[in-house]
């Protein structure tokens, strides 16, 4: 939802190609075949990635997938075992963190405990020998932006988690870096504050034109914030795309399963034409017809991913040659705006279906243990080969 909002925020850009699709655009950050090993453990495995100026790029993955290591290599805290990193066309090999045009917001915030909020924020500017008056003015501006002016004289241990997080953000933004690296920036915040800060981050990014790279394990956060997402698994990037692409067109089982919830059915490709695929799936209990082709050999093994919100339930019996299966409602979770139905198909497989509660008491129309027909549009499923 929020991701859709984000692209419509900038109507002027609609006529132009986004930078990552424009063949003439020069990437701001180029990561070429970067591998990082710690002993025998391969933390980052042959990653190549281009990120463009003004993007808010998220590296998304579970813990230990290598996303933080990749970020630390950009900041200069780790050196790649092999491969190259270019920022603004400059090879970063051998350039120490203090000479890089990047600033990082640490997951632990890493605020200097012996300095006040003000001194923490001023630290970076003082390293660059800015005159005192300018340091003062820019720190004041920054504290104003993150609404911490009344806390300027406090030490970090006198602040709440959310306030510390804003100090860390202010400290990393005050030097107006070309590239801001954020490691799980919103992890420690409660839901309300997190949402507010997400929009604040997007605002700041629009206003200052800084390129952001955000590391997160929180898919919702990645969906809301990002122009593009790189999904990582076991040291590799498994898919790069806009939030919509990642969500609607996952390229493999891992991405489909990691982002949002999904029902996966194993099957065999029977027909693979330009305009449709037909997959026979014992797991689903019916043939699945998909209205887009994938190029594969018939007979190949494939998986079909269908999002819970793209499935319809009805108590009437539906007779269709495909995309239709019978089941029994085994559980209903009422969430307010929508309800989640746990349906056991007649072959024993359990699937998840979400439906909007468009009318009051809509959840009463289908009840526990009701027999239902499960159907979906041929446009809804995605066929995956791996």
């Amino acid at each position: 939802m929020a991701a859709v909002e984000r692209t419509s925020q900038a109507p002027s850009k609609q006529t132009e190609l986004p930078s990552w699709k424009d063949p003439k655009a020069e990437p701001y950050i180029r990561i070429e075949n970067v591998t990082k090993k710690f002993g025998d453990f391969v933390a980052v495995n042959n990653v190549s990635l281009s990120i463009y100026r003004g993007e808010l790029f998220s590296l998304l993955g579970g813990s230990g997938c290598g996303k933080t290591t990749l970020l630390r290599m950009l900041a200069g805290f780790e050196n790649p075992t092999s491969g190259k990193i270019y920022i603004d066309g400059v090879d970063m090999a051998g350039i120490p963190p203090y000479d890089r045009p990047t600033n990082m917001m640490f997951q632990s915030y890493a605020l200097f405990p012996h300095m006040t909020v003000e001194q923490n924020v001023a630290f970076g500017l003082k390293q660059d020998k800015f005159p005192d008056s300018e340091v003062k003015q820019r720190v004041a501006q920054m504290l104003d932006l993150v609404q911490l002016t009344p806390f300027a004289k406090r030490k970090p241990h006198q602040l709440s988690g959310g306030q510390r997080q804003r100090v860390a953000l202010a400290r990393s933004l005050v030097k107006q870096p070309k590239l801001l690296l954020l490691d799980e920036p919103l992890g420690a915040l409660d839901k309300k504050l997190r949402e507010a800060t997400q929009f604040e981050l997007m605002n700041i990014q629009d206003r200052l034109g800084i390129t952001f790279i955000v590391v997160t394990h929180d898919q919702e956060e990645a969906m809301t914030l990002s122009t593009r997402i790189g999904v990582m698994n076991a040291g590799q990037i498994v898919q790069i795309g806009t939030p919509q692409e990642i969500y609607e067109y996952p390229q493999n089982k891992f991405v489909a399963d990691f982002i949002g919830s999904v029902n996966l059915f194993e099957g065999q490709i029977v027909e693979d034409e330009a305009d449709h695929v037909l997959i026979k799936s014992a797991e689903a209990g019916c043939d699945i017809y998909i209205d887009h082709g994938i190029s594969s050999a018939p007979g190949a093994k494939a998986w079909v991913a269908i999002r819970p919100e793209k499935i319809q339930l009805t108590k009437q019996e539906v007779n269709a040659p495909h995309n239709c299966v019978r089941g029994t409602v085994k559980g209903i979770a009422y969430m307010g705006n929508l309800s989640i139905y746990l349906v056991q198909l007649d072959n024993g497989k359990q699937i998840k279906v979400t439906m909007q509660n468009q009318m009051r008491a809509a959840e009463l129309m289908i009840d526990w243990d009701d027999r239902v027909s499960v159907t979906w549009h041929p446009n809804s499923p995605v066929a995956l080969l791996s």
């Binding site: 990082m104 012996h114 630290f123 400290r171 030097k175």
Partner: protein
Amino acid sequence: MASSVSAAHASRLPASHWMRDLLQALGIRGRTLVIAIPFLWLFLYFFVPFLIVLKVSLAFITIAQPPYTHFNEAGHLVFNIGDSYGRLVSDSLYIKAYWNSLVVAATSTVICLLIGYPFAYGIARCSPSVRNILLMLVILPFWTSFLIRVYAWIGLLKNNGLINEVLMAIGIIDSPIGMMNTNFAVYLGIVYSYLPFMILPLYANLEKMDMSLLEAAADLGCKPLKAFFLITVPLSFPGIVAGSMLVFIPAVGEYVIPELLGGPSSLMIGRVLWTEFFSNRDWPTASAVAIAILLALVIPLMIYQKYQDKELEKES
């Protein structure tokens, strides 16, 4: 079996009840009792002797056994401040000895800090397995008596000692360097003996340090050496204070090292005290010297305590 167990319980339970009842009857809670033990210990072996020494410092010298009396010729109990404490102020020997002790202790503390800090820093940055070995090596000298270790330095430093012999054998020097009985030897002895007391609290502090702070400093454009002085040193301040106190306080009253390694010119208050007691048999003056030095040491200790309380408050 079961009956014997319950019998053992039955015989034990009343006993503890009996103890508890007694304590309750006396109005003592268990917690008070636990604290009372170290208090009693300090009272008996620190405070009472302190009072005795204080009283002796206010006595008159006599030729008797013991060599002091609390009474004047008329047989009245008198607090004689003038003889002992008056001498401390009037005779420049004592002022000089005090001053010299403070200078030696302060200089040694600074030298210990300069050597100990990189030492502790290095250990704290090692891998955990190497770290344990290095810490072990720091503590290892304690397995030998302090006195023997100071004696060993004589064997190294004297004119026909190991250092001079080796230097002459390889032809760097022609005649031995006079190292024994000099201030140099005293400093060497003190720094050598007290270095572990500087390293251990510093290590304990530096080991806890959050390395991401240094990364954050580097990320904000601060070079490593500058980050060391802006981040590491201020954060290790409690360790610096603790280590310095642990070196400075015993070094001020040090007797063995200046006595064994120092020359006649290394006038330290510990030696003066010894001379007053055993050579001059002037117990009141010796006691006054002791009281004065105790006060001089308690004041910095109290400052340290205050500082620590403040730190604890900050953390909570």
